[in-house]
Symmetry: C2
Subunit: 151 residues, 2 copies
DNA sequence: TATTGTTATACTCTATAACTATA
DNA sequence: TATAGTTATAGAGTATAACAATA
């Protein structure tokens, strides 16, 4: 199994044999540009912890807390605290669901919408390294990834 | 700014204009396959928290604790606890540096080497979606990413 | 009875500040 | 006096288990 020198902060030294393995290692380097995942760095600028940012992104529309828990792969009890803090900050509200009074729907406030918008926009911004590719390379990259993801 | 339906668990709905933006959104979907980052899922299988796994990956060779702290973007005091727990588990040892007795070098034990090896190998494994691409697409993808990263 | 969300508990990660032992 | 690592403290995320309200 081959190795790479350099170690740009993350010691992604090892990669699997073959072009897919090398491509994967290179993709990880793009993800951890500046040493930490982009979505973490972007969240910090907005004073959002990773779980808070994650929850906010999922709240494109109001959702029950249990649905948030499933999508975030954590226990219901964690969501209580995460939503507590977002609520104290005025970014979300708890609404009792009409069809089942046990369920609480979490909805963004106007301020929450604004923060979510900024977060989504920042995360969607591709890294410099991709922007710097030729338009032809960018299109080819997009097309291959579409095929990979199956679209 | 265009949007995408589907929401495979992460609500990566938004993407930036242009092929680079679309490629970036697709790349994120590969990263969060199964909803959580691969390196998190892989760590869980080995009973390693993300910081523990991160530290282990950085310990290809013995390192001072302060260097670990810088590379992990956290305070020295955090490293104490993270290393404490890895040490209790027998994965690392603290060695006093000869040139400066204030410095402690963290070195992997044999068991630590084994766990690190399994962790690195699993993380390096590209997702199914990349493996399923044609060899030609795989090579093209690798070549474009090499250019992006600048090699 | 079963389910949704909460609370209680315990552990880990995080930052800050104060401390120690070296230098 | 400066630096490397530790300890103390406080806040946040995590899982488990017990609980209240509702179904």
């Amino acid at each position: 199994m081959p190795s790479k020198g350099g170690d740009p902060g993350l010691e992604l030294t090892r990669y699997a044999e073959g072009p897919a393995g090398e491509a994967w290692a290179l993709a990880m380097r793009l993800f951890f540009t500046s040493g930490k995942p982009r979505f973490v760095a972007v969240g910090q600028e907005l004073d959002l912890s990773p779980p808070q940012g994650h929850a906010l992104r999922l709240l494109h529309a109001p959702r029950p807390m249990g649905e948030l828990a499933r999508m975030m792969h954590c226990d219901n009890s964690n969501i209580t605290g995460i939503i507590d803090r977002l609520e104290e900050r005025g970014l979300v509200r708890r609404l009792v669901a009409e069809h089942d009074r046990r369920v609480k729907l979490i909805a963004l406030t106007e301020e929450g919408e604004r923060i979510r918008e900024r977060l989504s926009r920042a995360i969607a911004q591709p890294p410099e390294a991709l922007e710097a590719l030729s338009p032809s390379d960018q299109r080819t990259l997009r097309d291959i990834l579409r095929r990979a993801v199956g679209e």
